[in-house]
Symmetry: C2
Subunit: 279 residues, 2 copies
């Protein structure tokens, strides 16, 4: 049973927040959805947005400016939380980069995380099914995007589910988490010490072993304070080049890691997804 | 001496945050400014944005989506704080609607407020002079807008300074603060018990006594949770009608008091100001 907890008019459509008991994450999950004006009379394609470390479903809906473009393009935008939440859910309150707010869109295999931290199954199975059952979406007409940890999440969701998403895009994704300290911290906790097991959850590693990539658009900012130590776009680019996989990876001069960077290019990303889902 | 404390690239321009020792407010004041790409090569008109209760300079720059339109229209956007700040500045920490974050854009006359709470002089005198001395603006080519407390602030700045602003606009302004509890709380503290003194700081009262209004655009949401008890647009409308003053006051069906409402219509407001400043 989903319950609506908020409904705000915006750009002629409705920004809604919903809660439900997740069978996958074994806790109450919150997500937001923007229904553009066109959704009142027709079924529409859907873009899933995966947010970055520390975010909830609220950050993107407040900061990205995406709803304006969704209203122009006729896209539904679904914005899940970044992890399971609640008093029963394991957490490391003194760390922003592990536990609640840092689910990394993987299925945890290790105690105490594995009971709740099943964000991959949540965003690729439970949530799409809920969305298709509850909102006026064209079944199967999906794209996925995200930021930082969520940009990487978008990439692995696409790479691990051929045909499920018409297109994938990412802002400042952590392209190769097995070599970044953010990725290593979460993967070690959620997946255990066997680094071979990590590679099934790393976009660059998946490309190397032949996972197919749908139409893809990635933006990084050259002034991103995390670019050199956490993001490693050159590794993803090299893996794609070695496999002959086309990838549009743009280095945007002077932009940082913030939502001001996302706001600048979100319109291009949403137009990219609208085109991919129309074809 | 102004010092730049932040500089973020956005929509090809620069979102900057500055601090300076204010001669008017006798404390360190912070403001943000968005310089669109055109500012690199030419002087531009300026829109001042006055924020609402509890806000700093950060809320509008993160939530309104204004920078995109400023980049399209070639407008500089200046975003001051909503009050003086700091350990020496009087405050009522348990109240969101009095003291720091609630300057109401008046000049306080009462102790302990009067030393620092001179926001009217700050936003109409000190800040415009600083902006004209520091950024590539066309001198005197100004407009002003704002939200809620700041929407009212924009109105009184325009009403009390004929010719200073080409145009004024407001989102969900407190139109008649002398009859709203938010206005009464601040005016009583900052201006004292004599309610006659309040009327010089109330937009509806100023209209009644003949203050001239420049080209004006006001939007209220019909689902605004503060509409009936705090905002009183009908009082402003009646005062304008009685004086024969043209006023575009729109009741936007279904919209609330939030930045989602502002985001929906900020593009129209900025285009309105761009046209007024071009003529």
């Amino acid at each position: 049973m989903m319950r609506q907890v908020e409904r705000i008019k915006e750009f002629g459509g409705w920004l809604e927040r919903w809660q439900h008991e997740s069978e996958t994450c074994h806790c109450t999950m919150t997500f937001s959805v923007y229904l553009p004006p066109q959704a009142a009379t027709q079924k529409l394609p859907v873009v899933f947005w995966l947010s970055g470390l520390t975010c909830t479903d609220d950050n993107v809906r407040v900061k990205a400016g995406a709803q304006r473009y969704c209203a122009e393009l006729g896209l539904i935008l679904v914005m899940p939380d970044t992890s399971p939440r609640g008093g029963d859910v394991p957490d490391v309150p003194e760390r922003y980069d592990l536990g609640q707010g840092a689910g990394f869109y993987v299925n945890a295999t290790q105690a105490p995380w594995s009971t709740h931290y099943q964000m991959y199954d949540y965003v690729t199975r439970e949530l799409p099914a809920l969305v298709e059952a509850s909102f006026p979406v064209i079944p199967g007409r999906r794209a996925i995007s995200g930021h930082s940890m969520g940009g990487h999440g978008a990439l692995i969701c696409a790479l691990k589910n051929p045909g499920m998403y018409a297109s994938v895009s990412a802002f400042a994704p952590i392209c190769n988490p097995v070599v970044s300290s953010w990725g290593q911290g979460c993967f070690g906790a959620y997946l255990g010490d066997d680094k071979n097991a990590w590679e099934a959850w790393d976009a660059t590693c998946l490309i190397k072993v032949g996972a197919p990539l749908p139409s893809a658009l990635i933006d990084h900012g050259t002034a991103d304070e995390f670019l050199a130590e956490q993001l490693f776009p050159q590794n993803l680019q090299a893996a794609c080049t070695a496999r002959g996989i086309p990838l549009t990876l743009r280095m945007q001069d002077g932009y940082d890691h913030s939502y001001h960077f996302i706001a600048t290019f979100i319109g291009e990303h949403l137009a990219f997804h609208a085109r991919a889902m129309a074809s």
